[in-house]
Symmetry: C2
Subunit: 381 residues, 2 copies
């Protein structure tokens, strides 16, 4: 037997309470029992998204479905949108927007750069007929955190432009004040901060986004927001929901309410800081820039002379600790340590210890225990 640890930025570990809630005998979705589940999921997600003004809609799909829903429900073919990205997942919104025939302008940044809100302000000033600004809050591929609060303040001045925020790995890890920051559409997926298996996605829809919906002519059915809203009035869904995942969500929301959203965000900040300090103490260099580091995942450069792919597979196969490697251009060059959702102090210790042992095995020279020591200092602080 080898104990296994899932230290990736999604799927993330699922608490036993949630795993077992999902394993309850199946119930029918058109029943008062399930209506209660829907009500609790929606109200809990509003709490997590920090919104009272927006509706929250839940889909049986992965996060990409929620991304697509934001495009098909807010726009017409030919609409001008600005897609800002600095990583793989942000780029996906460009691909979706293009697939639906939007007139896409891209503000592309390096994976180690933060999106500059001033660039967005300048673009909107020059192109006041832009119908949407699309941005990722917490970029999973690079660990970079974009300042969606600042972007919200800019887009709020444009009545016919909605701000769409992919917060798939942001929600539950970093602060995301949907109402206060004027975020019109915010999305997340279940296998992230919500501590569930993948298969559910959620979006918030602000009054401004509903206005965009009314003029939108892109074809839609399964992801048609209005169908979901109409059914929510009766605490139900237009199509058969993912019943077991919804029951799991109600359970994880219970855990999140008990801890409190502010405490959850503080915990993530603390664990991320311990991970960063631990890695730096080992002589490893952080990938994300100091001015924009998210708390869901810590990407770190693989040190000179170490094979990044070997490092990931050694940690997994020899030590049972699964972390993520780099994607696209950074395959084999960075590792990504997840600390999103159901994570506590000793998960960080475990990951750092597995990293230390694997680095030793690969001949990298450092002071064994130094990573743990630095992490402990943060965790005790």
């Amino acid at each position: 037997m080898q104990k296994k640890y899932l230290m990736t930025p999604g799927p993330t570990p699922v608490p036993s309470e949630v795993l077992l809630a999902q394993a309850r005998p199946m119930i029918h979705h058109r029943t008062p029992d399930f209506n209660n589940v829907v009500r609790e999921c929606v109200s809990g997600l509003k709490y997590v998204f920090q919104t009272e003004l927006s509706d929250v809609l839940i889909f049986a799909s992965s996060g990409t479905g929620a991304m697509e829903s934001s495009v098909v429900n807010c726009f017409c073919a030919g609409d001008k949108v600005l897609v800002c990205y600095n990583g793989k997942f942000g780029q996906r919104m460009q691909l979706i927007s293009e697939a639906y025939g939007l007139d896409v302008t891209v503000l592309e940044y390096g994976w180690q750069q933060v999106v500059d809100p001033a660039d967005i302000a300048a673009h909107l000033k020059a192109n006041p007929d832009t119908r949407g600004v699309i941005i990722t809050q917490s970029e999973t591929s690079s660990g970079v955190l974009n300042d969606v609060k600042a972007v919200g303040a800019i887009v709020a001045d444009y009545n016919d432009c909605v701000l769409i925020v992919d917060s798939i790995t942001g929600i539950g890890a970093v602060d995301c004040k949907t109402d206060e920051w004027h975020l019109d559409v915010v999305m997340t997926g279940s296998q992230k901060g919500l501590m569930l298996p993948p298969g559910l996605a959620a979006v918030t829809v602000s009054p401004k986004a509903w206005k965009a919906y009314e003029r939108s002519t892109l074809p839609k059915f399964y992801f048609d927001w209005k169908k979901y809203l109409k059914n929510l009035e009766k605490d139900t869904t237009p199509f058969t929901p993912a019943v077991s995942l919804m029951i799991g969500l109600a359970e994880s929301i219970k855990l999140m309410r008990e801890e409190g959203i502010e405490n959850i965000i503080t915990r993530h900040a603390r664990l991320a800081e311990a991970t960063r300090k631990g890695c730096e103490a080992l002589g490893l260099e952080l990938f994300a820039p100091a001015e924009g580091r998210g708390n869901a995942v810590t990407p770190v450069w693989v040190p000179e002379g170490v094979d990044g792919k070997k490092l990931v597979s050694l940690m997994k196969n020899k030590h049972g600790v699964t972390i993520a490697g780099g994607q696209d251009d950074y395959t084999g060059r960075i590792i990504r340590i997840g600390h999103l959702g159901y994570f506590g102090d000793f998960d960080i210790i475990t990951t750092l210890a597995a990293l230390e042992m694997s680095l030793m095995e690969l001949g990298y020279d450092f002071e064994p225990g130094s990573g743990i020591k630095a992490a402990e200092a943060v965790l005790m602080g």
Copy 2:
């Protein structure tokens, strides 16, 4: 404590083995372990769909997502399609086709009628430029079984016309020979004959359907078939899959392989026949016509003088047995008894006994035990 029984045509009961497989600790989806799960799910679904020629693609969505996928992947806006329906779910394909701007002709039948293949033949002869015929095999709202084999033989003669079959409650309950019957696209959902919670959907795609895909220009992303096919070559999925449901699917496929698809279909026929004979012995009239009765669900007229809604709620609240009521025009007028998926002899006995007791309580006059007696005769035969 009240023991609860789910006797609806979806969601259906989930075997404990499957419930618990889903509750295993989360694993990452980009790993050899999960590649094995994908491979087993696809190969198992090919077995269940009885196909070697078609590809099988799996989505994190409910059945409606698979329905939408068949439209957006096969057609261009303005394409002529023929939608044949005799119930609520068949009608949904019309709504989806219209949402995507197809030129839809409807062959509508009453809910108690079988779609007549001769009408389809006549339509295609008069409109040889029809690009698709869309039909439901097993209509859940009415219990009617349409003869998709006969329709397959007709559509096979038209090289540029695909046959799309909604077999969401057909697969695993009635015979569906995808290859032999020339069915180009067949779809199902997880919460039906596959004995899983809802949240997964699958489609088969024949070489002819891939040809249709190549000329299709409707916008798509999340449900883009080619993205799934390309990833299947590496035993993976383009977007994060519903990991726990896929692990459950691998488990239920194990159960289905052990029993054998022919035996599964025979079991469903036997249980459906016991249900029908049991209801008739109680003096209740079957809703679906003799020439087209499916084996997934048995709809029955509520007898004169009995309140149909009360009957369903009495069975549920007093006896713990959940069956389905009628939909749309038949709300309160019919009941629908599910026997789809994880069902055995004594589930039928249980349902009939609860039905007998509830009918007695509502003052309906019949010989108590007569339904059970008739069912036993079938089950012993």
